[in-house]
Symmetry: D2
Subunit: 412 residues, 4 copies
Amino acid sequence: MEAIFATDHTRELVPRIREFIHTHLVPLETGEYLTGNFSKVAAILDQKRELVRQAGLWGLQHSIDEGGLGLTLCEFGQVSEVLATSPFGHYTFNCQAPDIGNMELMHKYASDDIKRQYLEPLKEGHIRSCFSMTEPEFAGSNPTQMGTLAVRDGDEWVINGHKWFTSSADGAAFAVVMAVTNPDAAPHKRASMIVVPTDNPGFELVRNISIMGDPSDHWGSHAEVRYTNCRVPYSNLIGGEGMGFMLAQERLGPGRIHHCMRWIGIAERSFELMCRRAATREVEPGMMLGEKQFIQGFIAESRAEIDASRLMVLRTAHNIDEQGAAAVRNEISAIKFFVANMVLRVVDRAIQTFGAMGITDDVLLAWYYRHERGARIYDGADEVHKTALARSILKNYGLDTRKNKAADVVRS
Amino acid sequence: MEAIFATDHTRELVPRIREFIHTHLVPLETGEYLTGNFSKVAAILDQKRELVRQAGLWGLQHSIDEGGLGLTLCEFGQVSEVLATSPFGHYTFNCQAPDIGNMELMHKYASDDIKRQYLEPLKEGHIRSCFSMTEPEFAGSNPTQMGTLAVRDGDEWVINGHKWFTSSADGAAFAVVMAVTNPDAAPHKRASMIVVPTDNPGFELVRNISIMGDPSDHWGSHAEVRYTNCRVPYSNLIGGEGMGFMLAQERLGPGRIHHCMRWIGIAERSFELMCRRAATREVEPGMMLGEKQFIQGFIAESRAEIDASRLMVLRTAHNIDEQGAAAVRNEISAIKFFVANMVLRVVDRAIQTFGAMGITDDVLLAWYYRHERGARIYDGADEVHKTALARSILKNYGLDTRKNKAADVVRS
Amino acid sequence: MEAIFATDHTRELVPRIREFIHTHLVPLETGEYLTGNFSKVAAILDQKRELVRQAGLWGLQHSIDEGGLGLTLCEFGQVSEVLATSPFGHYTFNCQAPDIGNMELMHKYASDDIKRQYLEPLKEGHIRSCFSMTEPEFAGSNPTQMGTLAVRDGDEWVINGHKWFTSSADGAAFAVVMAVTNPDAAPHKRASMIVVPTDNPGFELVRNISIMGDPSDHWGSHAEVRYTNCRVPYSNLIGGEGMGFMLAQERLGPGRIHHCMRWIGIAERSFELMCRRAATREVEPGMMLGEKQFIQGFIAESRAEIDASRLMVLRTAHNIDEQGAAAVRNEISAIKFFVANMVLRVVDRAIQTFGAMGITDDVLLAWYYRHERGARIYDGADEVHKTALARSILKNYGLDTRKNKAADVVRS
Amino acid sequence: MEAIFATDHTRELVPRIREFIHTHLVPLETGEYLTGNFSKVAAILDQKRELVRQAGLWGLQHSIDEGGLGLTLCEFGQVSEVLATSPFGHYTFNCQAPDIGNMELMHKYASDDIKRQYLEPLKEGHIRSCFSMTEPEFAGSNPTQMGTLAVRDGDEWVINGHKWFTSSADGAAFAVVMAVTNPDAAPHKRASMIVVPTDNPGFELVRNISIMGDPSDHWGSHAEVRYTNCRVPYSNLIGGEGMGFMLAQERLGPGRIHHCMRWIGIAERSFELMCRRAATREVEPGMMLGEKQFIQGFIAESRAEIDASRLMVLRTAHNIDEQGAAAVRNEISAIKFFVANMVLRVVDRAIQTFGAMGITDDVLLAWYYRHERGARIYDGADEVHKTALARSILKNYGLDTRKNKAADVVRS
């Protein structure tokens, strides 16, 4: 914990969650659950969810008017870091993406009907959801290029399109779909978000895309999805027509804080594994691995980089709390690439410290190595955020590099 | 190909092999074969092996007195690079580790009996083998620390020990085991190599260790093995008693050339995928990914680093051909860490260029990312080779940093 | 400024100082003053000091009981950053090392007599001082190895020794010398600090060591000094006998905050120069340098790294204010190498952005490039701090790597 | 030396030159000559030139028809590396830029009259020359943007323009000036090269630009020059009208080999200093600096990188010898940025190894650090070469990124 950002909430919650993770989730980190399908572990995690409820730790992300604790983003970020020290933490506490983002969005913008039908069971953990935005045919760096169309036909939307990386679609009860509804509007006013139940005959889960050797299933899946003449009620619209990008932006600001804090949790966990290994592995008679300067360098650089990352993210979260995400778009871009690169370096150093054991599924590190490589890609690749940040800075120096107004939408 | 190292052999072989790979092996790079067990693809590859034989390309690594082409190490390195542009290349051409190393070793040092029984079918591809050296209890950086013991009992060895990363053990007909036979000798004269058939009741394949999400099987496996009162004929000894480390060193010099050239092949293949993606992926209307300077930077740096690596390795192979491995131990250490780091950077840049698709098993890159992380660890971790190289250099300046004579054995 | 660390003091002072620097010091950054001897500019800076006094900005670092503002370390750090945006800032405000450290030390530990004779005129800017610790014969990484001896002879010390990097000795009125006074004590209780007037016949300024092409003089000098039977009153001792290392540590904690904040100021200034250049330099007709992604990458990465550094340092300063330096030794080690490396990267990128002009003395960058390379060396080299940090961390994991208790003294 | 590139010439010359450097030039590396003006050392070097002549080592770069040895570019590269192990090597052997480039150019393209008047005394070392191409108003990355005009007026050229980085102009007898002579031609056929004696009243040496603290003079200078109605005979034209860029390209191919080999020589020298320091500097009682893994890492990585660089450059030189520079433009771009970055890393590591002494002018490293930072900028900045290389590669994949045909001229 970083003293300057600690609050009564975090001082109370963080140790309790840490204890819970340690007792209930760390023992699940075995080769069996770190490879293959998520469904193997999901049943067990559902039992753990009961323990979370009993401990009064369910729904940590909810606002006070939702019956939650009303944590600030900066506080929840600190909670999220601890949850991330287990790969099963967020799921067990029902704070996992994309559900957490869908919950927040629907709470603010969905009709009461939609809330009752979808949001309530989602908050209870009775169903899961997915978010269907990215398309294989178009570069993610420019989300205003989108092929999925939703055409109004009386009281219904008729949706046609092709998506992938619709994460967690397998087994989800519904998807929040981003589709172009107003093709003639300005680029970032073209799209809307619409709720689509996955049992709709127009919704086809083509496949769970195999990622880094792991097709997985259930919450762990990343689906390719096809929408074919998919008809849903007009009222499944979230917010208003053309608000899709605005809502995506609203989602992405906190979403990036969540991701970044998750990466920091992963980095801390990897750091701990690395230090423990260094302190206990004998490399020569009487000489521990941690006495080697190369390993000391790994440890020292990781410590500095993790701390720097946490300070950057919590300060950004704090500023979002104070000023709103729009005011700190530059900070959000900066943490996205800074922290994503940090976590991959730390995981890599930890693997190197473990030697051959580090690439086995006997330790958690290989799991992180495979599953977090995407950190530098999704939600805006390194290159997109660097460009966006530099362009924004250069504007203060009188240079407008923006040739395509749509190009920045991907940011916060 | 690098003109200064091209010979008649490489000028003839390289294009033919390249064509073979392109026609017969690249089409197998589908999600189906890039995930899960190797046995799924092995059956198909066995058919491809027939085509290799028909093309007269079987046994490329053999010396003239074995009926082969007698390629120099520098020539075979160039062949090996091309084979590595498919993850199935070496296996299909029966040049795969650890069999290639076992073949060379047995050809030089095994008895005629052992040759007839094991080497001949191995050369024909009728059986497979494994090499059993690394132990979980001892750091790989110091191979003279070894717990496996082989005690002579009349005409037999009785072997007891615990190994892991006995690669390809699953389905292998025999293992070449490194065991301490002379515990009282000088550290690097303690061990010997012994052939152990895997159907021996004292040979237990405990498990195929899951590596980066992939337990695999068959040639793709990395086994944990236990030897319990494992009795084999005394004549299964390769070379003489106490020659284990000497033979390991003899194996490692060329072995590192093989690995390095394989990594260069992987890097070239990844480079090609990256360039093709950059040239054909539209990121904005009318703007290809390859027009972005960040991507151009990836391409330019990769090109320079791959070429530098190839020159380093072929020059080292050439010098081994001329002077023997012992004379160029420093060069061998240098290429081991230099090239291992290069290939991981190039694969990483290619993934970044592909964006989200890069982490899927729809392209080969994720496979390389997972399976080659070990490059910086096995056969001497980066840190071991850097230390060994620096120590050797500093000796020329009058500083002897060697406190432990055994410590350098791991090198060439 | 970083909002979470802003106080009434910094909100008032920072803009005023920024304005002062911009108006009075930036115009002095010409080739004339950026090359050659410091004395060329010192005369002008002495006039500027009058303006500082008139503006009521003299003595910003002093505690309330010294008649100052009583800024916390965290507040003064923020002031120090702004001062550092000119290479002449700290000198003009009389906050420059090593005088600032000597002032603080003498204020706390010197006798009233010493204070009257040396501290008062130092605070007024009427004299300058130097700090004489490093010795050419011994590695700076282990300060307990020290050859300079001070032997008591009645009411006097007789000092003999050889020092270098006695910065600013040229023209200084006195030196604070670190000398072994108790050779038989425990290593870090051997040395003491003693005030030596430079007009003492036993004090010989051997030469101003030429650094990066610049022997300089006056405050800009780095002297080699020889003490030969140098006799000073016993009461010139600061603190007690054997307190030398303790005082050095006390000095180094805040001293590293000062250095780090100075580097951040330098980085910010370089960043600003880089951005201005990028926004205004045409590279092709109609295409500004800042439209190139490589340059955007420089800008984005620098922005993130500078912000991360500032947060790290101010958080450390804040924690020193709250808990004392001893409690945050690890944080101090981390910022020392983290920020020193950052500033050199940012300066380097700015030079690259300027192209050929960047290596000329027409812009400030070449000055920073030359004069700040030492950042990664002095006050504990990167390697020393990384090792110290890792060792301290590993102790929490049960590994004691400390074979030489003295080795850590160099830290805070 | 790299065995695969050694020839009878290099086997004979390299040890002799190495010996000469060691005996006659290394002793001049004192603070006195490593700071301040080049003229201080030039007088001594002129005496050393006599020794070069006596040793029969004068004019190593000349072709056989010029009475030289007719070294290939690959052979001369190896000579150049050795010369570069002293900062005074090239000058002493009269192989220094820009004279070497001017000699080659004039030998091939100048009239007999020009040769007699300028080339002959230049080859004898009786005069010096400069090359006047870069302009402060235009980005060096696009040399077809050029403001200097030469207008024909009867039998004369009238030249007007503003140049900088006209290196070595101070004291030179003549300049080779690049000026636009055919403004309406295609971009890279606009300019010509013209000989201008520096005593021409239209030639004004505005100043020696201070570089990294060092305005220098004589051969060590980098001048700003103004041409004002500067009239020279029409026959001072080198080659034909409009051939300027073609000649510049012809010059740049070998020129980059020269630079790269020079950097490799610098890296080798720095490496040697680093190793010697590591082997002899005690950091703790009984513990040498070279026993620290961080330092071992510096040494090992430097060794690998220097060797990789040398192989890259000599292979490129070899290929230029075989196929001409035009055929290996990609290789030339690759070595330019690869080697420039390498040398700066090696120098930096050597400085770090020396600690405080490394930034003093008591050792050569600070000189290299200051004077070679430009390596990543001149003759095409890193960014320019990376872009050019990537564009050329991507053309093979069907992508033409070239919007501005002139943009690549800067390469070779």
